[in-house]
């Protein structure tokens, strides 16, 4: 304030009041028009950014957890699949073994039955042929006998012949 005496000027109190008042009015107007909304918006933005960062962190953690879960699930599924496959293989092996065994058994039993059948048929055929020979011989004999029935000698001859035939047949 001493400077004014050096400059030699008058102290204009009105100017001082005017500058003070106008500065305060300017400050109030700026506060009303710009300062409040801008600082509020800046604060909102910083809050939002902080929230976004937090939520991003959270979702990242969630994603990691989810991925881990997937991984374990995948591993367990793979194991399950391999057990299922090996079980199926075992079952298939067992079944095929059983089928082969059954087939072998079946074939063996069929073979036995067929042999038995063949033997039986052979026996039957033998018996039939024996009967046929007998009846045929009797027929032959009767034909011979009808020609010379009264002769006992012939009868004995035929009998001996038949006996010989039967023996011959048996030995064959």
């Amino acid at each position: 304030m001493f400077s004014f005496s050096v400059v030699g000027a008058q102290l204009y109190v009105g100017d001082m009041a005017y500058i003070a008042v106008s500065f305060i009015i300017l400050m109030c107007l700026i506060k009303l028009v710009a300062w409040k909304p801008v600082t509020k918006m800046m604060k909102d933005r910083s809050d939002k950014i902080a929230n976004d960062i937090d939520s991003a962190e959270k979702s990242r953690a969630d994603a990691t957890k989810l991925a881990e879960q997937r991984q374990t699930e995948l591993a367990s599924t793979r194991q399950e699949a391999s057990t299922i496959i090996s079980e199926a293989k075992q079952t298939g092996q067992k079944q095929s073994d059983k089928i082969v065994e059954d087939a072998q058994n079946n074939a063996a039993s069929m073979k036995v039955a067929a042999e038995k059948d063949i033997e039986q048929q052979r026996q039957e055929a033998l018996a039939n042929s024996k009967k046929d020979v007998a009846s045929l011989s009797i027929e032959i004999a009767s034909k011979i006998i009808s020609k010379d029935l009264n002769s006992d000698d012939h009868k004995a001859l035929v009998d001996s012949y038949i006996e010989g035939l039967g023996k011959h047949n048996e030995s064959r």
Binding site: V13, D15, I30
Partner: protein, 237 residues
């Protein structure tokens, strides 16, 4: 060398018309600038809002760098207003120079010692007020007696030297810039065509320098003010 002024007296106070016009114009310019930039304020900032937010961040940064721990948060508006008022005031005289009948009506308000001293006085009163508000009367005035009681004299006179240095630094820089600019202009006008052409680059260089000085001085004023305030709002060891 004091230029002629036109004054009037009202309620026992003398008013200088040219100062009033300059101050009003500076206030209007600052208000129009801020008003224009603060339309359509949204969460996702547009161009104007980005500029305004950069300005706000800049002045907040001055406060934050001198007053730590967020104690100066409530000074944001004050630093924003005074920085841009002084900046526009400093640059106003480089853009407009309205001279009517030998009386300059529009110039830099800060080229007048009264205006700068008033701004400095307001700042230091704000510092005293905040000191009392934060520390209480006892601690605030106790600071004058530290580190020793003898220092009261120095601390007391420091308040006045702060006022003088803060006000006169701004005034001296801006006033000298304008005065030299005026002298270059008058030399160019009086000296004929050759001198005018020779003076044009000089004028441009000095104008650029004055813009630089104006910006620096606005920054220095706010920085020093917040330093004074920061010293007032904490108890000295």
């Amino acid at each position: 060398m004091r230029e002629p002024t036109s004054t009037f007296t009202f309620l026992g106070m003398t008013f200088n018309v040219s100062n009033m016009v300059s101050i009003t114009l500076a206030c209007l310019l600052v208000f129009i600038l801020v008003f224009a930039l603060s339309r359509h304020i949204t969460l996702k900032p547009g161009k104007a809002q980005n500029v305004l937010e950069y300005m706000v961040d800049f002045t907040n940064g001055i406060i934050k760098s001198t007053i730590p721990d967020g104690k100066g948060r409530q000074l944001g508006l004050w630093s924003f207003t005074i920085f841009f008022f002084i900046l526009i005031s400093n640059l106003q005289g480089l853009l407009f120079h309205v001279d009517v009948g030998g009386v300059v009506y529009v110039k830099s308000p800060t080229a007048d010692p009264l205006v700068t001293m008033t701004l400095a006085a307001m700042t230091l009163l704000l510092a005293q007020f905040l000191g009392v508000q934060r520390l209480g009367y006892r601690n605030h005035f106790g600071n004058f007696l530290k580190p020793f009681k003898v220092f009261f004299v120095i601390n007391f006179f420091e308040e006045f030297t702060n006022l003088l240095t803060l006000g006169l630094r701004l005034y001296g820089n801006i006033y000298s810039g304008e005065m030299l600019l005026g002298m270059i202009t008058s030399a160019a006008v009086k000296g004929g065509l050759g001198t005018s052409i020779a003076m044009l680059p000089v004028e441009m260089v000095w104008q650029g320098f004055s813009v630089f000085v104006g910006c620096i001085q606005a920054y220095v004023f706010v920085t020093l003010s917040s330093v004074y305030i920061s010293r007032k709002i904490e108890i000295e060891e």
